[in-house]
Amino acid sequence: MLTRRNMLKGLAGGAGAVAAASIASPAEARGNHPMPEHALGLLYDGTLCIGCRACISACKSANGMPAEHTALEIGDYWDAPLDISGQTLNVIKAFREGNALHKDQAVDGFAFTKVSCMHCNDPSCVSACPVSAMRKDPVTGIVSYDVDACIGCRYCVAACPFNIPQSTYDSPIAKISKCQLCAHRLPAGKYAACAEVCPTGATLFGPVAELQQEVARRRALTPGTKTLFPRGKIGGTDTYAGVASTYVDHTYGAKEIGGTQVLHLSGVPFELLGKPALPDESPASISESVQHAIYKHLLAPLGFLGALAVVAWRHMRPEAEPIDPTGAPPAGGEAP
């Protein structure tokens, strides 16, 4: 039988194991995953966007997705989805304030923004995926989805800070929809359809390292000066002359949750465009550090199991001992 002394010893051992595990966790935080060297991404410059929505249409045809019906107060649309969904991977939204007459102005102005996968350096969806359905390509860094591996838990939907992975809730065999940077078109020498079709180069495809240089170049320009803007993909032959705009002092995606492979430039503050303010540390690195610390060498589970065993042991009684001699007789002879 368990003595008081033994029970206390057991409890102390379990507590020690848990304490050791939790002390170890800050020291072993894994940090943000770095961006792959040859990462591919997009640069979305809201000041160049004219809101033609050709990217929405091109995205749908490149990914074989149907048009979505939207009933708005001013009429019915088949080409104006309100947000990304199971059938829409990319949407252009517009911020508007006051009389909305001036482009890229916070007061009495309007501005466009793009909603699509940011292809994080350290993606939460990949971290949250219990199987290998969400993967980040080690070379291109494209975050892809494998429907055959997916178990339908939708942890990725809950994990993403940008609210990107969408489930096809209306389907009995739901799957996840998200932008995969047209990875299926890359082998044929093509690239992201949204960038390919963009008439102003507002959405630009290319290696992230070159896109970052382009961001630095644009932000260094004096507003109003004439400059050449690349169109389609960076480093190509298609360029056009345009006028440099005024940018807010922030490149969205440069540092957010450890950096993303999709970068955004804008003429109005990003909080007006519905972009969440996020810390530099990736949620995946925090949760994985905690989780990995707890489960390291199975110390915490073993400690917890030990504690449970002690409690169970403490409550054990010899089998012969009657439960309650004064209680009601056991119910018997009762057949349904």
Binding site: I50, G51, C52, R53, A54, C55, S57, A58, L72, I74, G75, Y77, D79, A80, P81, L82, D83, V91, I92, K93, A94, F95, R96, N99, A100, L101, K103, F110, F112, T113, V197, P199, T200, R231, D238, Y240, A241, G242, L272, L273, G274, K275, A328, A331, G333, E334, A335, P336
Partner: protein, 381 residues
Amino acid sequence: MGSLPLATPDEDLVTERRFGMKRRSFIQLCAGLAATLGFANNAVGAIFNALVDAKRPSVIWLHFQECTGCSESLLRAEHPTLEKLILDIISLDYHETLMAAAGHQAEAARLAAMAANKGKYILVVEGAIPTGANGNYCKIGGKTAIELVKECAADAAAVIAIGSCASWGGMPSTSPNPTGASPVAEILGRPVLTIPGCPPNPYNFLTTVVHYLVLGKLPELDAKGRPMFAYGRLIHENCERRAHFDAGRFATQFGDEGHRQGWCLYKLGCKGPETYGNCPSIGFGDAGTASWPVGCGHPCIGCIEQGVGFTKPIHELAKLLTVTPPTQFARPDEQQGQGSTLATVGTVAVVGGLAIGAGARLAKNLGTTADKPSTTSKPER
């Protein structure tokens, strides 16, 4: 056709003699004018009567810094009756290109017409007015363009600036503008009716004149003095290639696959998205569909619009004005769905209440059955 007069052999003769066309063709022309104005079907009769009965208004047409393209397009339009209208419906008392008179005779005709129709004649100005060097860049009959336009406008019933040059300066006013080319409104110091374009569509001018004849007033104008019936919408809005724009099908070079397929010319610098005009709706020269620049495969150069035509490079990307303000775009925080309705809340409350009640009842009954003899069990002997 409303109050269209019945045809008599005499009236057939009237239209034939006066307009050089059969009555039937003349009614067709009136119907065309009514359609351009957006008038109802029964307006055809009113237009017919106005054109047949009204005293031909005197028109004085001045030419300054221009190429006479506006007059040419008016005369050379394929419609068989346009020159007849210009010469017969209105009384064109002074037009340097068309009048037979020359020299002092021409000037005398102008002064005579102005005196005879004081306060009733229509002044049409074609071409910009040079203000540089005290206006000495353009002199007619010893008078500068500035003096002429002020003199003629003083007693005019209406002043119409035809073409981009007269409307806002046009091509002559392009930087560095050594002659100081200026629009009519600037010289007169008051707004005038403008029919911009290089050249403008002749029907926009003609319809404005007919509007004046039929209703006795000028049509509704926008802030730049342009008739709303013709310049009320962006070219982009009615463009026959608009569907290609929306679907992202752009021609990227002249003669490429997209260009041969008739795709959108935005990437080639089409200024349709920032130019107001009815070019895609009515075309040019009555030569059928696609008889306008974009229809023929060349991007719109925005010849109508100040600050676009002759100012922006032809292949520079246009500003898109249709999306201002962008009503059909989702906001960043667009709300979807419509919250819970009373019926939903009620249903959920009823179902939830039933579930809780049933659970409570079940829990109350648990363990109590053991005490009672079951009704189904066999009684003990």
